[in-house]
Structures are given as C-alpha cells and as structure tokens.
C-alpha cells in the first residue's frame, strides 16, 4: 500500500528536470514536497499522475504501474489553476467528478454538497466560476480534486494565493482527508505549513532528492542544533569550542549553533561559570533552516 518511485529520470531536451529520483510514500502519509522553483516538483507530480511519462524508471501505486491505475484513484490540484469560466459551480464539479470517477450522479452530488458545506460555498452553487473571488475559485478547484473520493490526492502549491482564513480552512480540510485515510502529497514553499501538516517530507534540489524522511529526520539531517542563551556576560569561551559558533547576538540573547558531538549542557555549565544565565533553550533547526542550508550549499 504505497506509492513507489524507482530511479525516475525525466529530461526536456538538454535539461534534466528529474534526475534519478527514488521515493516512497506510504498509504496514509501526509507527504510534503519541498524545493525551489524549477527544482522538479511539478514534473514529478505530473509523472505520478501519468500526464508525463518518465524517460526511465518506474512509478507504482499499490504495486501497479501508474499508467494502468484507474484515474479515479487520484485527485489533483494543479499549480496552474483553471476551471470552465462560464460553468456554474455545481455543474462544473458534477462534470469533473463524473469524469474522474465512476460515481452515480446522485452519489457525486452528495459528496459535492458535503464539500461545499465544509468550505462554505453553498451559497455559490449556481454561480458561474468566473464570478467567484479568487479564493473561492481555489476552493472549488480543491473540491474538484477530492470530491470523487480518491485514494491519493496530490496538491501542487495548494496554499498559494489564499488569505489566512482560507489557509486555515484548507488545512482543516487536509487534516480531515488524512483522518479519512486519504494519502496526501503536496508541494509548498510555505515550510511552516509543511512542518505543521506533514509527517514525511522530501526536499528536491536541482532535480535530485536532497533529503527525505520523517519531519524529525529531516530536522536532524544537518546534524546541528541551535542553543539560545540569555546572559549579561560575554561568551568568549565559545570561540575555543570546536563545533560551536555564535550565529547572532541581540542584547543579552545569544544564538549558537552546535555540531552533533557537542553536548548543549556543557555550554550551559560553562556559561554558568561566567555568571548568571537567565534563559537557556535547545532547539532543533526549523524546516526552513534545513531548507536554506540545503539550497544554499
């Protein structure tokens, strides 16, 4: 029960968009794709959906090659949003749901109604899509991706262009889908959302996977920790410690970065020898820090 990409490579002319990527997404995962613009995320998503075919490598869903898998298993919210502008919301969703799955119109309608309710769009049921606000159009597009009850939902930048309220609504919807057992893959630049929602992530950098694993593993990937100390005394001893460096100092607050072998408690002990310590904190790198480390290399 998983999505498995094995040694996937895709070239466009002389440019390699995806270079020998292998990846596993387990059923029930909420999987985050991170990576800068043009890193190869969208190409990879398109290959998973069989819109593009890889030059080499195999993509399987539940052990079956994706080009043999029934389309109704997948739901897709593309980065390039678009719906039929003149079609009313309900007609549009019914049409797309029927195209995706093999639902009876009655069932499809029921699922759509539920989603319209959940996303507060019931009042716009008969409105042509072009007359909706951009945020509401996005929500309609999201329903189009999930109303046929796919097993795997892939969302390319689902949060872009949404206001904070709608971001929250969408987050709740994703959590709901996940609770229902739907496997979710989404790409996002907003790493705090990835950190918040995902249990597993992959970072794609220059067409290759730079790291993949659980959020915890990803954070520990760099092997460094951040220590924050508040003390009026100078921290000159840090200079002599191998594997520790001062990142930033604002007033009495100092931020240090320490390598794996170093025990943060030793730093605290040494600081206490200098005098008073008002605040001491050990934290892992945020996903954003990790991302910047990988991309900045």
């Amino acid at each position: 029960m998983k999505l498995e990409l094995t040694s996937i490579t895709k070239r466009f002319g002389r440019v390699t968009a995806v270079d020998d990527i292998s990846l596993q997404v387990h059923a029930g995962d909420v999987f985050g794709f991170m990576g800068s613009n043009g890193a190869g995320k969208t190409t990879m998503i398109r290959m998973i959906l069989n819109i593009l075919q890889p030059d080499s490598g195999v993509i399987c869903w539940k052990g079956q090659n994706v080009h043999l898998v029934d389309r109704s298993c997948f739901g897709y919210l593309p980065e390039e949003r678009g719906l039929y502008p003149k079609m009313p919301v309900m007609d549009q969703l019914l049409y797309l749901t029927q195209l995706h799955g093999n639902h009876r119109p009655k069932d499809a309608k029921k699922h759509i109604e539920q989603w319209l309710q959940r996303l507060d769009l019931v009042a716009h049921k008969r409105t042509p899509v072009e007359k909706l606000s951009k945020g509401n159009q996005q929500k309609v597009q999201f329903i189009a991706a999930v109303a046929h009850r796919p097993e795997l939902v892939i969302l390319d930048e689902p949060f872009s262009g949404l206001d904070p309220v709608n971001v929250q609504v969408l987050q709740q919807s994703l959590s709901y889908l996940s609770e229902q057992g739907t496997t979710l893959i989404f790409s996002s630049h907003r790493l705090e959302q990835v950190e918040h929602l995902c249990n597993r992530v992959a970072l794609i950098h220059r067409a290759r996977i730079a790291l993949q694993g659980s959020i915890q593993e990803a954070k520990q990937w760099a092997g460094v920790k951040t220590v924050r100390l508040a003390t009026p005394n100078p921290l000159d001893f840090v200079e002599s410690l191998p594997g520790a460096s001062i990142q930033d100092r604002v007033g009495e607050m100092t931020e240090l970065q320490i390598q794996k072998g170093l025990n943060p408690q030793d730093i605290l002990r040494m600081a206490l020898q200098q005098g008073q310590v008002m605040h001491f904190e050990v934290c892992e790198l945020s996903l954003e820090d990790v991302y910047l480390k990988v991309v900045g290399e």
């Binding site: 466009f12 593309p78 678009g82 079609m87 900045g296």
Partner: protein, 425 residues
C-alpha cells in the same frame, strides 16, 4: 466510452443552451422562412393586380393575332404579371399618352405599319420597371405574329409555315437510368445542394470545434482534464459534442426551409423520388463521416497550438484544404465518371462529396463505394487518434516550455546568488 459521452454531452449542452446560440438559430430561422414568404406575398399581391395595356393598332392587323398568340402561349408558362390588353382607336392616342405620362394608365403599345416590312412597335410607359416587364411579356408573341405575316407575304404553304415557327424539340436521355431524362436536371440540383451543404457545414462549424479544442488551454483547465481522462477521449468527446451542435442548428435551419422550397420544385421532387433508398442512406453516411473527418482535422490542428492568438496562422492552410475539396467536387460534378472523379471519390478528404456526385449523377461500382467508405472511416479514426496524441503532447510541450524556462532561470539565479554570497564573505 462513458467518459467520451460525458464530455460530448457537456460540450453539446453548454453550447446549445447558450443564449447567443438560441438567438442566432431563431433569427436565422426567421430570416430563412420569413424572407421567402414575404417575397412570395409581395409577388403574389402584384400578380393579382391586373395591369391594363392600351394597344393602339394603326395598321389594324396585329392586335387580334397578338391576343390569340398570347392565349395559346399562356397555357405552358407562368405569367410574370396579370396583363390585360385593351384595344384603343388611334384617335385616342394623344389622350392616352398624357394619361401614361402621369401614371394613370400602365402603358401604351403603339403598333404601326401595314405589313411585316414596315412594321414597328413602340411601348410607352412612365415606369422603367413596367417597361421591362412589358418587354418580357410581349416581345416573344409580337415576334411570332410579325414573322408569320412576313412568311405569309412570301406565299409559304401553311404546313411549311408551321415548320418554321414551331420550336425545336431536343430530347435528353440519361443512359443507365430507367426513368429517363426528365429528372436529370433535378439530380444535378440535388448534387449541387449536397456539395454546398457539406462545405458550408464544414466552414461554419469546424471552426467551432477548433475554438472548443483551444478552450481548455486558454482557461487552463487542461491539466485537470488530462489527469482525469485520456486526451484522445477528450478530443473525441469534443468532436462529437460540438459536431452535434452544428448538426442541430443545421437541421433547425434546413428542415423548414426544405419544406418551404420543395413545394414548387416539381423536377427536384421527381428526382428525389427517383433515387433509391440506399442513396439516401449513403448521402447521410457520407455527410456525417465527411463532416466529422473535417471537424477532427480542425481539432488536430487546434491541438498543435496553445494560444488563441496563434490560431490565425494555422487557419489558412485549413481553409485552403476545404476550398480544394470544394473545387474537386465541382470538377466531379461536371465529369462524374472521369479518372479524377474516380480517384477523388476514394480519397478520404474528397470522397464524401465526390462519391455522392457519382452516386447521384453516375453509376459507381459497389466495391469503390465500399472502399471509399472504409478509407473515410479509417481516416476519421486516425485523425481523431492523432489529434488526441498531439493534444497530449501539446499539453506537455506547453508545460515543458514553461518548465524549461523556469528551470534555466532558476539555475542561473542560484548560480548568481552563490557568487554574491562568496563576494560578501
């Protein structure tokens, strides 16, 4: 197949229920039915009104013969106007002339001369239209009367006279058709109408298919669609759906019009009756297949481009192809059993019209009909499949083009960033 139907149904429903489509269809029906009715009403009211023409016959020998000649000719031709000839004595001429000048009477016909040699006829009327009508009505009978007099002056036998004056009888025999010649005019007409219908349908509606195929690309719904259905299903659904939109409109336009004009066209009705049932079946089949072949060619070409702005450039070769088909059909029209017609009637782009010409006007062997139908069907399926394939590739290339550019841009961007960082440190 289910998905093809779902797509076709949406394409059809969305277009047929659009207010513009309904309005246009109804306006055209009003025009197509209303204009002929209006014209015939005006013509009919004019025809009922009797027009008095005063004949002033100075020689006194033409007038009565003219009346006779007209009466005998009346039986086999429809008069353009209800003309009444009224004899008037030459003394009234001046008075009548004044009346004609102010339009109180329609006109005067002044006949002068004692015999054929010094005969002259002059029309007087204040309106140019009635002069033309009078000429059309009276030139022929006048000619006959005066010519008879001239021949009589040369003492010709009455039998010889008859020979000179009777119109030539030419008979036409359409070989291979048991029902003979009379219907062949009607057949030519039917063949011409079919050719015209075929190509106007293509010109009118194939561009609708063209726009329809571009629709997903311009509204960017394409990516969702190709993730849900195979491009070839999408294209097939579109061709069928939009094709039926055109057929619906044509049926609405043609049916009442056909009923309306079929009334006075005796020859066409005879010709239609003379055609076998299978010719009608083939007419219908060829029309549908030909229409869908051209629609799918338009769809295929549309799928090579991704922006509406590009459509003008690729439209030109398409229109030329359509015109070429029309021209070839015209050649076949004049020589339905020639080598070119035979070849064209098997070649899919031309076969729908050319084979129909041959069926109606000639006598093609069954194997050629079967072969042309087979080729047409294969060609249509091939083009549909190809347009699906191109559409799919077009999506990717469109995507790839974007990706490529952003890929290059981002890798350059990264390199530049890297340098900056190094310089700063």
């Amino acid at each position: 197949m289910n998905k093809v139907f779902t797509i076709a149904w949406r394409e059809y429903r969305v277009r047929v229920t659009s207010p513009l489509y309904v309005a246009l269809t109804l306006v055209m029906v009003a025009l197509l039915v209303g204009v002929p009715i209006l014209v015939s009403m005006v013509v009919a009211s004019d025809a009922l009104e009797p027009v008095d023409l005063y004949v002033v016959d100075k020689g006194g020998w033409v007038s009565s013969q003219l009346q006779e000649q007209r009466n005998s000719a009346k039986a086999d031709q429809v008069p353009l106007l209800n003309l009444r000839l009224r004899e008037a004595s030459p003394v009234r001429f001046e008075t009548l002339l004044k009346q004609a000048e102010v339009g109180e009477i329609a006109g005067i016909l002044l006949l002068e001369g004692q015999g054929a040699e010094d005969f002259s006829a002059t029309f007087f009327s204040s309106s140019a239209v009635s002069l033309a009508q009078l000429k059309a009505e009276l030139q022929q009978p006048l000619n006959q009367v005066v010519r008879r007099a001239a021949l009589a002056e040369h003492n010709l036998e009455p039998a010889a006279l008859q020979q000179f004056l009777s119109p030539l009888q030419v008979h036409y025999t359409h070989l291979g058709r048991s029902d003979g010649a009379e219907k062949s005019n009607g057949l030519v007409f039917i063949a011409g109408v079919f050719n015209l219908l075929m190509y106007s349908a293509i010109l009118l509606y194939a561009s609708m298919t063209f726009q329809g195929v571009l629709e997903e690309k311009s509204s960017r719904v394409m990516e969702v669609m190709v993730a849900a259905v195979k491009p070839v299903y999408l294209i097939t659904g579109k061709i069928i759906g939009i094709g039926c939109v055109g057929l619906t409109q044509m049926a609405i336009w043609v049916l009442p019009y056909a009923v309306l004009i079929s009334l006075p066209l005796g020859q066409v009705t005879d010709a239609l009756n003379s055609l076998e049932w299978y010719v009608f079946a083939l007419m219908f089949t060829y029309f549908l297949l030909g229409y869908f072949l051209y629609s799918s060619i338009y769809a295929a070409v549309a799928s090579t481009i991704s922006r509406i702005e590009d459509s003008q450039a690729v439209m030109a070769p398409l229109t030329i192809t359509v015109l070429l088909g029309y021209m070839v059909a015209l050649f076949a029209f004049f020589n339905p059993e020639g080598d070119m017609a035979t070849a064209a009637s098997i070649f899919p782009l031309f076969s729908p019209t050319v084979m129909l010409m041959r069926l109606i006007l000639g006598d093609p062997p069954t194997w050629q009909i079967a072969l042309s139908l087979l080729f047409l069907l294969i060609a249509t399926l091939l083009v549909v499949w190809a347009s699906g394939w191109i559409y799919g590739k077009g999506v990717l290339r469109y995507g790839a083009r974007l990706r490529l550019r952003s890929l290059l841009a981002s890798s350059e961007g990264n390199a530049a960033d890297g340098k900056q960082v190094r310089i700063e440190s």
